[in-house]
């Protein structure tokens, strides 16, 4: 995938996360590619992870089967995009 494509994927992913998780007040521009999704980053919680799993499955056709894999995938938008790119 080209740099342009991965950039587009990350932007799309940010927009989907904002929409699916109803992150009121957040914009695509306010989410850095490497910003942690949890705690001091976007502040997501365990329920949000379930939403992200559904989002990746329904919107990008990529499933997370192994919970251990989830820890690596859901670190940031960049890691999510990398996983989507590698698996769809």
């Amino acid at each position: 995938m080209s740099t342009d494509n991965i950039t587009t994927l990350r932007q799309d992913l940010k927009a989907q996360i904002i929409s699916h998780l109803n992150l009121e007040g957040r914009t695509v521009e306010s989410i850095a590619d490497d910003m942690p999704l949890f705690d001091e980053g976007l502040g997501l919680d365990s329920i949000d992870v379930l939403e992200l799993i559904v989002l990746m499955d329904k919107h990008y056709g990529v499933r997370i089967a192994d919970p251990k894999q989830g820890r690596e995938v859901f670190q940031s938008v960049a890691t999510m995009a990398d996983h989507i790119q590698a698996n769809r």
Binding site: L21, L23, I47, L50, V54
Partner: protein
């Protein structure tokens, strides 16, 4: 046991939010906007508020004044604050949304699913304020003051609670109503069935 005392009362009636009689928010006629406005009036930073279901929003709003810096309940240990919340429909509105989404899209949002229990709103309160006390979630056709009194008395007497957030919360079919109070014990009680009936009749 000693008498039971009401320390503070909040009421939310379709957008009009009052704390001990003082109005903090008024109705716009839009249920979602009203809930948002009432929460904004409390000036509490809670990012996940926008993602809660309406029942949890209503309960969070009605209880919020008790937990402000000068809130009446903050002097009690977090593990000695109980909850008794009664309503008619519980999570019915969210249950319906969940079913509608399931039928329309063949899957439902996990974020919606977690709110499909009537006592989840109490869980939200516990998480928000770090409460560890005992609690009861009760369903009733109308405010049952006798049952509310009994439940609060049991928590205060038998579960070592020092204060109880007690009240009525119901949201369904475009109507959102809550009346909450903080109850504790004291030599001079001001809480009997007549007083409770008066509060619920006055505030809905």
């Amino acid at each position: 046991m000693e008498g039971m005392r009401i320390l503070s009362t909040t009421t939310y009636r379709n957008g009009r939010f009052t704390v001990d009689g003082k109005e903090l928010a008024s109705s716009t006629g839009d249920i979602d906007q009203d809930l948002t406005n009432a929460w904004a009036a409390m000036k509490v930073e809670l990012p996940r508020f926008v993602r809660m279901d309406r029942n949890s929003k209503l309960v969070s709003i009605a209880a919020a004044p008790f937990f402000t810096a000068e809130g009446i309940i903050t002097k009690y240990p977090k593990d000695r604050i109980g909850m008794v919340i009664m309503g008619t429909h519980g999570s019915m509105e969210t249950d319906q949304r969940y079913l509608d989404q399931l039928l329309a899209e063949n899957h439902a949002s996990p974020g919606l699913f977690v709110y499909t229990l009537p006592n989840i709103a109490m869980g939200e309160l516990s998480i928000q304020h770090g409460l560890h006390g005992s609690g009861l979630c009760l369903l009733s056709e109308a405010p049952d003051v006798g049952q509310l009194r009994d439940a609060c008395e049991i928590l205060l007497r038998d579960h070592d609670m020092e204060a109880v957030i007690c009240g009525w919360a119901n949201i369904f079919a475009g109507s959102a109503v809550a009346t909450f109070m903080v109850v504790t014990t004291g030599k001079e009680g001001n809480w009997d069935n007549d007083e409770l009936e008066r509060i619920f009749n006055e505030h809905g």
